[in-house]
């Protein structure tokens, strides 16, 4: 089983991100379970969502305490929420930021992680450019596909088509592919 935890703020599509990821996994014939942190979701308030992916039925109903991947949709949360709770150093981290790890203040922290398993995508900027709204979730799923391989980028694209339609879907698909390619390039030392 592969477990992903999303940290973001209300309005950033944190819950939708987990749901879309579960749909993408489902489209690959896997079992998936996505659920929100069950808070009263308000614009700007910290929000957590979860997604589990497995090849067999998922029965477990607890929140994800020991994630295989953590996706941080808003790096300002680094100062207020324990986003790294329960993550082991051989697991995956993905940040939404155009800043460097140095500027984010986590350069030392991520030294202990495996470099190919840590990614950073300017997801908000990509979304603003193509979708016209600061919703970083689709780009981060592209990034997740790039660093983990737990999901194919094509499946993320198909999931986006299930969740959205028309120009919004197409714009998000551009974002997914661009984020995927950027992250791959970064991991291959091109960034």
């Amino acid at each position: 089983m592969f477990q992903i935890r999303f940290h973001g703020r209300g309005g950033q599509g944190v819950v939708t991100a987990a749901e879309m990821l579960s749909v993408a996994a489902f489209l690959e014939g896997k079992y998936a379970q996505a659920f929100p942190s069950f808070g009263s979701e308000r614009m700007g308030a910290p929000v957590i969502s979860y997604c589990r992916i497995d090849t067999k039925e998922i029965r477990l109903r607890e929140p994800i305490g020991e994630p295989d991947a953590v996706i941080i949709q808003d790096p300002t949360l680094l100062n207020s929420v324990d986003v790294f709770a329960g993550i082991k150093e051989d697991r995956y981290l993905l940040f939404n930021s155009k800043q460097s790890y140095q500027e984010l203040g986590i350069a030392d922290f991520i030294l202990n992680f495996i470099p190919e398993r840590v990614g950073c995508v300017p997801a908000t900027e990509l979304a603003l450019e193509h979708v016209g709204r600061p919703v970083p979730n689709a780009a981060l799923l592209g990034g997740l596909a790039a660093i983990t391989g737990i999901i194919q980028v094509d499946s993320v694209v198909r999931a986006v088509r299930e969740k959205f339609s028309g120009p919004v879907a197409e714009a998000n698909i551009v974002v997914v592919n661009e984020a995927f390619n950027m992250t791959k390039k970064l991991l291959n030392g091109g960034g």
């Binding site: 749909v23 489209l27 929100p36 009263s40 029965r59 109903r61």
Partner: protein
């Protein structure tokens, strides 16, 4: 058709396949997505021949459903928490009148303190209202139970609550198999009322009944549920034949045949419990679990049959009978009357507190080692409780408990 959708949406689509004729909608978290989903299906014309009524309160929701059902329409509504309490009088009326309404409960705690998260306090408060109560373990089962609920309700002449854990199921995306309309039509015939208000053949429903006949009317309500006890497993078996999967029935057992310890629970926590059972089986522990689907009528004999060979019973329950302990465990003790097995109550998951594998595993181990009290509160924060009790001892005007505790937790986080 296999789909990856939200539990509430899955239930809404399933209710649509049951061809409801009146849907009474009033929003309350965490049930709201269900009636919203149904509203969209009616507006799009996916559900036809259906009156979707936005009412002004939960009391109105069920009152309108009562009128509609008495008028011969297949009627549905949904609620949770305070919403269920607000319609309490109508809840008793619906069953007292024998009207086969189906209602989803998106299980949620009851205030004060106000809390929107999951536990079973709401449906438990109405356990003796005369409704049949079915609890779903997964979203698939929540869907399937609604199809069976209309069958049971209309055959027996008794309303049915389908209880699904708020957020944990209602808001979870998971794989479900949505049946085809022909399948549901073949399983669920059109509603044929046992009693109906018809201007061309007038009757009155809801007479005042004095001491001369009240007990007999109540006995017949009990008799109906005893009949349901026989029909629920039969309808579940018929469902399996037509749809190809096990859903509903009285109880589901998991590795109980040789189990010395059996864990009993209602609803979605059974999934987590099964994972713990598997972990402990790997360590050589003979443990199994039992999920109760039909809480009312309560399957006393079936439970006695499954539980009596075990040496020890653990009941995990998401409710608290304040001043007494566990509601489900008291019922389980009734099933085991005259036998000697200890029944340990474990109050867990109140107000949305996560029930983790780790905590359950520890609790089961301790119970098996006889190191746990009869009524145990899972993961209770004793330090916070002691602080509040000390404060109350020191100062008569120590302030409101909920606010005090939140302040203490805030302080601890800062430290």
């Amino acid at each position: 058709m296999l789909k990856q959708i939200e539990g509430s949406q899955a239930v809404a689509e399933t209710i649509g396949l049951c061809r409801p004729e009146v849907i009474c909608a009033y929003p309350i978290t965490p049930q709201t997505h269900i009636v919203e989903g149904l509203g969209a299906l009616v507006r799009k014309g996916t559900i036809t021949n259906c009156e979707y009524i936005n009412v002004e309160s939960e009391f109105a929701a069920l009152s309108v459903a009562i009128g509609a059902s008495a008028g011969g329409a297949r009627s549905y509504t949904a609620t949770a928490s305070q919403g269920l309490l607000f319609m309490a009088e109508a809840v008793y009326n619906a069953s007292g009148l024998g009207l086969p309404i189906v209602m989803t409960i998106g299980n949620r705690a009851i205030g004060a303190p106000i809390n929107i998260w999951n536990d079973h306090s709401d449906s438990m408060s109405m356990r003796d209202s005369g409704w049949i109560q079915l609890y779903a373990e997964t979203n698939q089962e929540a869907m399937d139970l609604h199809i069976q609920a209309f069958r049971i309700a209309e055959e027996v002449g008794c309303p049915v609550m389908v209880c699904m854990d708020g957020f944990i199921l209602t808001h979870a995306y998971e794989r479900v198999d949505l049946p085809r309309q022909e399948q549901v039509d073949a399983f669920l015939p059109p509603y044929e009322p046992m009693q109906v208000l018809d201007p061309s053949d007038p009757v009155s429903i809801g007479a005042m009944v004095g001491p001369e006949a009240f007990a007999e009317v109540r006995y017949l309500a009990h008799y109906k549920q005893m009949r349901a006890l026989e029909r629920i497993p039969e309808i579940s078996a018929e469902f399996r034949d037509r749809f190809g999967r096990d859903s509903g029935g009285l109880v589901h057992t998991y590795k109980t045949e040789d189990a010395d310890t059996i864990v009993v629970a209602l609803g979605s926590v059974n999934g987590t419990i099964k994972d713990v059972v598997d972990e402990m089986r790997l360590d050589g522990k003979t443990i199994g679990s039992l999920s109760i689907c039909s809480f009312r009528p309560f399957p006393l004999e079936r439970l006695r049959e499954v539980l009596s060979p075990a040496k020890q019973i653990i009941v995990i329950e998401k409710n608290l009978a304040v001043g007494m302990g566990g509601i489900l465990s008291a019922n389980i003790r009734m099933a085991l009357r005259g036998l000697v097995q200890p029944v340990t109550t474990c109050i867990a998951g109140l107000g949305g507190r996560p029930i983790t594998k780790k905590s359950l595993h520890e609790m089961f181990e301790k119970t098996m080692a006889d190191e746990i009290e009869d009524t145990h509160f899972l993961d209770l924060d004793w330090e916070i409780i002691r602080r509040e009790l000390d404060r109350e001892k020191a100062d008569r005007r120590s302030g409101p408990i909920a606010e005090n505790i939140l302040k203490d937790i805030g302080k601890r986080l800062e430290e």
